[in-house]
């Protein structure tokens, strides 16, 4: 789902950075009240966990691989703002400390995966938990993967329309939504099943373990 550097136009990533910076400040302010010797290590360690979950590649029949992200798990365990900040931190770490992923793509990925993905997971879980808790957790994980994929695909798909030369040739990502939407959404609908399972099992496990005294 990550967009590498060089495929997003400045018309896209500059406003995305402006929006993201505002939300990072807002998120840090909201979190500061909750930041103590319990929550700070939790946020750091869950950030690292999300980072490594993105490295656990699950093989698909046919030779390709996909990976989970743990966004649903983070959102349900720590709330939307902490999840947004943790995912942003993962993306920043990947780009700036491990040289993996794009710095121009960071705000779009953070908004899509960290904010929209976390909000979608949270509200799906809130909406369904009275009906069936397991279904709510699974659906929260699935939607936290598919909605960001849809948003990322749309952002990529509009690039030829908003950034092209006088001859109409694309200057950044060259495919329109008719190509990129099915190419991105179909695999992620499948990956979302794994993310749903991870959210269901991981959330139950964490809830049980956090309830235990240290």
């Amino acid at each position: 789902m990550h967009i590498p550097d060089g495929f997003l136009s400045p018309q896209t990533y500059v406003p995305a950075y402006a929006v993201c910076a505002g939300l990072w400040v807002l998120g840090m302010r909201r979190l500061r009240a909750r930041l103590d010797e319990e929550t700070l290590p939790w946020l750091a360690v869950m950030t690292a966990l999300s980072f490594v979950l993105m490295m656990v590649a699950l093989p698909l029949p046919g030779g390709s691989t996909v990976h989970a992200a743990g966004i649903g798990l983070l959102a349900l365990s720590f709330g939307v703002w902490m999840s947004f900040l943790a995912v942003s931190l993962v993306l920043a770490m990947q780009a700036l400390l491990f040289g993996d992923g794009g710095i121009t793509a960071l705000p779009v990925n953070a908004l899509a995966m960290g904010l929209a993905g976390s909000m979608a997971a949270w509200w799906t879980w809130r909406g369904l938990r009275r009906t069936n808790e397991s279904l709510a957790l699974f659906a929260a994980g699935w939607v936290s993967m598919v909605l960001p994929a849809l948003l990322v695909a749309l952002v990529l798909g509009i690039q030829p329309a908003i950034a092209h030369d006088t001859a109409g040739r694309p200057l950044f990502f060259p495919f329109g939504p008719e190509v990129v939407l099915p190419a991105v959404l179909l695999p992620h609908a499948l990956v979302g099943l794994g993310e749903g399972l991870l959210t269901l099992l991981g959330h139950r496990y964490l809830t049980r373990r956090r309830a235990q005294p240290a």
């Binding site: 590498p4 060089g6 010797e37 946020l43 490594v52 770490m93 040739r169 991981g202």
Partner: protein
């Protein structure tokens, strides 16, 4: 707490962060392949004796995605009977340049020092980074363990089982690490006014 602005190393790293941001912006505002190729040459010259290694790492990183995009675009251009070369050259040079600038920045600058203006942010980044390194090493150990213990190439189910075991181990390790860090912060009075 030390004033990070008084530390010349921190000041240099913060200036490097600013220069990096400006270089990235410039690389996306320029649409002439000659300028992008010039930028790539300058970046490699700045890398000095590490230029070969940097270029090799950049190529290995961008190859899968760029190859897929370039082949797709080549096919699309062929169907539309358009010459694809200028677009392909521009796209690939831009991606190479941006990735090379990032890798050079990562190699040369201490990001922890550059972000030293916030104690919580530095601590959060440091803890997350050290945990990520531990997990990354463990991830490689899990992969090697599967390969070394399998007489044949591991099947799909073997790899699923190892992934599940690894995820469970990461969760256990994360819980233990969070508890240890909380105790360390409490014992050092990190949040005491």
């Amino acid at each position: 707490m030390n004033n990070p602005f008084a530390d010349p190393g921190a000041r240099r790293d913060r200036l490097a962060l600013l220069a990096y941001a400006l270089a990235v912006l410039a690389a996306t505002l320029v649409h002439d392949p000659r300028w992008l190729a010039g930028g790539l040459t300058v970046t490699l010259l700045l890398a000095g004796s590490g230029a070969g290694g940097l270029l090799s790492r950049v190529l290995r990183t961008v190859l899968p995605f760029n190859l897929a995009v370039s082949m797709g675009y080549l096919m699309l251009a062929w169907l539309r009977t358009e010459p694809p070369w200028q677009t392909l050259l521009l796209l690939n040079l831009r991606v190479l340049l941006l990735t090379a600038i990032t890798f050079l920045f990562v190699r040369r600058v201490n990001l922890f020092r550059a972000l030293g203006f916030s104690r919580s942010l530095t601590y959060l980044l440091g803890l997350a980074y050290s945990q990520a390194l531990t997990f990354r090493r463990a991830h490689e150990d899990f992969r090697l363990a599967l390969v070394s213990r399998s007489p044949r190439r591991p099947g799909l189910m073997d790899r699923y089982r190892v992934s599940a075991a690894a995820a469970s181990w990461y969760l256990e390790k994360a819980l233990a690490a969070a508890r240890e860090s909380a105790q360390a912060l409490r014992s050092r009075g990190f949040f005491d006014a």
